[in-house]
Symmetry: C2
Subunit: 202 residues, 2 copies
Amino acid sequence: MLKFYDCLTAPSPRRVRMLIAEKAIKLQTIQVDLSKGEHLSDAFRAINPHQTVPVLELEDGTRLLDSNSISLYLDEVFPESNLTGTSPQERAVIAMWQRDMDLNGLMAVAECFRNSSKGFRNRALTGAVDYEQIPELAERGRRRVRTFFTDLDCRLADSEYLAGGRFTVADITAFVSVVPSTSNVGAMQWLRARVRWRNREK
Amino acid sequence: MLKFYDCLTAPSPRRVRMLIAEKAIKLQTIQVDLSKGEHLSDAFRAINPHQTVPVLELEDGTRLLDSNSISLYLDEVFPESNLTGTSPQERAVIAMWQRDMDLNGLMAVAECFRNSSKGFRNRALTGAVDYEQIPELAERGRRRVRTFFTDLDCRLADSEYLAGGRFTVADITAFVSVVPSTSNVGAMQWLRARVRWRNREK
């Protein structure tokens, strides 16, 4: 059986959780409590040397170590309903929006949050190495998040879903970027995005 | 005919150029001179609002705006020889290594370089918005590049190619990360990686 290493409080595994819920996939879920530092233990390092969640362990023992590759795999193996594209062109367009939401959304939010929150002192980047917070980087992250919201509103005024006519992994990534960032952006912007995905939340 | 917006001096379009060379794809190439700021012109903004290269314009006018989605598309449409995987598991494993090389290699090199080089003052991030250089971020980038090289050497001691038994897009991204960073890392490390890819350079 597939093994999914998850953490209920973190945004990246949430991307996988939403995809699993969309497809009603049955798998074994193991919670890794980031607040207790379980991801930094030797036991978890043996599972993922990057010491991040999510991780998906396949039946032959192969491990996928990031939410994007996990989503691609699960979407191919459990094809109903497709979330990553069904033609070369659609797959590429969805991959483009997925990367855009990841880089300009989720990573911008993380840049702001992890460089300013007291709980992330010395943990400004995920992973095995400690990096100190950089206050100027928190400020740059805030500017990037504002730009992201402007661009997102602009795109969603033109198109109900990011990558075209239907819900895809890019919408999941945008949603996950929007939800935890309420303290950093205007509540109205958050609500507008939230309402659009209300019926999608898992 | 496919239109490829390229720049000979930039690492991201080089990833696409190497893939095009591997597959001997015929397309129209348009050079965008980043040193002259051509990517910041209104004309180019109309092509790519992110104001970055590479861009691939498909025959129906759809534009792909990052090297990863372009590589996925070209690899599917020109299948010989495959560089992104031929089964769900192989595609996911290659996507994982591709993301690892992108995030921990190319983006770490860019973090160091763009936050320290005089030529990138106010251009610490690619894209439409100007961001000032942050000296502490250049230093963080240097640390991340050192970690990347250690991890890369470690992986290449176990496996001739990053994602398994053959050359893939992940090796292209690692190569492109290694080559422009000679001034920031030990020349020996660079040479060791360079020799491995000697016959692959395009």
